[in-house]
Amino acid sequence: MIVETAVFYLFAAVMLIAGLRVITARNPVHAALFLVLAFFTASAIWLLLEAEFLAIALVLVYVGAVMVLFLFVVMMLDINLERLREGFWRNLPLALVVGAIMAAEIVAVIAERYFEVASQAPPLPAGYSNTRALGMLLYTDYAYAFEIAAVILLVAIVAAIALTLRRRKDTKYQSPAQQVRVRPAERVRLVSMPAEKDR
């Protein structure tokens, strides 16, 4: 148990430092990469809690997909740091309020479980599969909620594509299907000519 605690504090420290660097790093690309590191260590902490599905899904979705797009955007844009820093002191009070509310909510949720008794959840049996348990719940008890969430995401995807879809009139594009259907007889006319005389 003490080993797990040591590992937990190691990951927690890395995560806190990474989180801090996300907001203090001068270079936006560095900040985004520190966010990746924070996600990664968060997933490692979830693994310590034996929540392997959540941990791996975090890496798969956030690290593998979301943050890649984030980095894409951050690298492509020419971000003016001075402009970004202008609003810092003006927005600080609001940020502090939001932060305090979030911290209070987290404390309210976990306080009674972790601050009163230092109880450890019993270790799960050997054949227990977190993924299977989650799947069972999602597709039986919470099937409708799950489907609704999926449909909302689908609508969001369609909306995002519809918003950015612009068809320029002067674009030239090829239709591979048409190209494949081409027959030489329609394009090339073979003319047979008599051979020329020797020199």
């Binding site: 003490i2 080993v3 270079n27 690309v29 560095h30 990469l33 990746v36 392997e52 599905f53 791996i56 899904a57 890496v59 798969l60 690290v63 593998g64 997909a65 890649v68 797009l69 980095l71 894409f72 690298m75 599969s129 977190n130 993924t131 299977r132 591979p176």
Partner: protein, 359 residues
């Protein structure tokens, strides 16, 4: 002897830290036992690539260093080790040096859950397939970071191309894996192999007809071609299209840093081949249920399958011209994703029908 080894950590580090130290050292030993053969395999895959493509093009291939050119990879390795590491002007030094590490780490870490034979796997975790998917999806960071940190137009353009390509093909690959896990009923790679040993044909002793490749043939094609695209191999190597953008994201790298990208690419090739063998070709199982074939160690079957599949990568390279970039994207988004979606529904209905072959 074994008892002595097991009890030593407890005696030296006490009962609290002893088991942890033992587990740590044991894991290290197993990791090294997987990694060293892997590096040798990568080294000789490069030689095999040059030899095989040489023969296909009616050349001899490397034959100067050692007998039959067998020491060529070692000569290459020594050469790369002693080359100077050049840092471009205004490159982001830390990220520039971090990128090769980011390339090789996921390529190596994914091997933790690969079953080499029954019970021979470093980490027999239940979410093995998800783990592999998650780790291979982080490989794209190496490309992006390398391209950006190099502070070079060509490297950046190559990185953008490659990252977009890898992200696109990951979706088709993920859907292909969903179908495999649906018919296997498990995310554990060992269970996926074992699930392929049942069926009408396996009962007749013709194991190879019960493997997933036959009922899931379209998925196999999608998965394997996506794998070729995912590893940026020819004909999808638009990243390093020499005629357009020199050598892609690693154009500024030299010496060992370049070699790391190279190693990661070949390691990913072997990984994709192994995953194809595990998920579609019955992993370590013998093709026919015959007493003579049972004498062959299980690992040898996996090795043979991986060898054949990774040779396909080289065969593709020698055969096909490079895709144009928009066609690469078209193939990924407009062909592969619809194919996998349709086949997902087909297999789903098939599984619930009375003709289901998976029960």
């Amino acid at each position: 002897m074994l008892e002595w080894i097991v009890t030593r950590p407890d005696a030296w580090f006490g009962p609290t830290w002893g088991p942890a130290v033992y587990a740590f050292v044991a894991a290290l030993v197993f990791i090294v036992a997987i990694m060293i053969p892997l590096f040798v395999a990568v080294a000789y895959l490069t030689l095999w690539e040059r030899k095989l493509i040489g023969w296909m093009q009616i050349r001899i291939g490397p034959n100067r260093v050692g007998p039959l050119g067998l020491l060529q990879p070692i000569a290459d390795g020594v050469k790369l080790l002693f080359k100077e590491l050049i840092l471009p002007t205004n490159a982001d030094k830390q990220l520039y040096l971090l990128a090769p590490v980011l390339a090789i780490t996921p390529a190596l870490a994914a091997w933790a859950v690969i079953p080499f034979a029954p019970q021979v796997v470093l980490a027999n975790i239940n979410a093995g397939l998800l783990y592999v998917m998650a780790l291979t999806s982080t490989g794209v960071y190496a490309v992006i970071v390398a391209g950006w940190a190099s502070n070079s137009k060509y490297a950046f353009l190559g990185a953008m191309r490659s990252a977009a390509q890898m992200v696109s093909y990951e979706i088709a690959m993920g859907f292909a894996l969903v179908v495999v896990l649906m018919v296997s009923g498990s995310l554990n790679l060992s269970d996926i192999v074992n699930a392929q040993a049942h069926g009408r044909f396996a009962a007749m002793g013709l194991n190879f007809l019960s493997w997933n490749w036959l009922p899931l043939a379209p998925i196999l094609v999608v998965y394997f071609v996506s794998g070729v695209a995912e590893t940026n191999r020819s004909p999808f190597d638009v990243v390093e299209g020499e005629s357009e953008i020199v050598a892609g994201h690693m154009v500024e790298y030299s010496g060992m840093a370049f070699a790391m990208f190279f190693l990661a690419e070949y390691m990913n090739m072997i990984l994709i081949s192994t995953l194809t063998a595990v998920m579609f070709f019955g992993g370590w199982q013998a093709p026919i249920d015959a007493p003579l074939l049972e004498r062959v160690p299980a690992f040898a079957w996996l090795l043979a399958k991986v060898f054949v599949i990774s040779s396909m990568f080289l065969w593709f390279r020698a055969t096909f011209p490079r895709y144009r970039y928009d066609q690469v994207m078209r193939l990924g988004w407009k062909v592969f994703i619809p194919v996998t979606l349709v086949w997902l529904a087909v297999v789903g209905i098939w599984m619930r029908s009375p003709w289901s072959i998976w029960s």
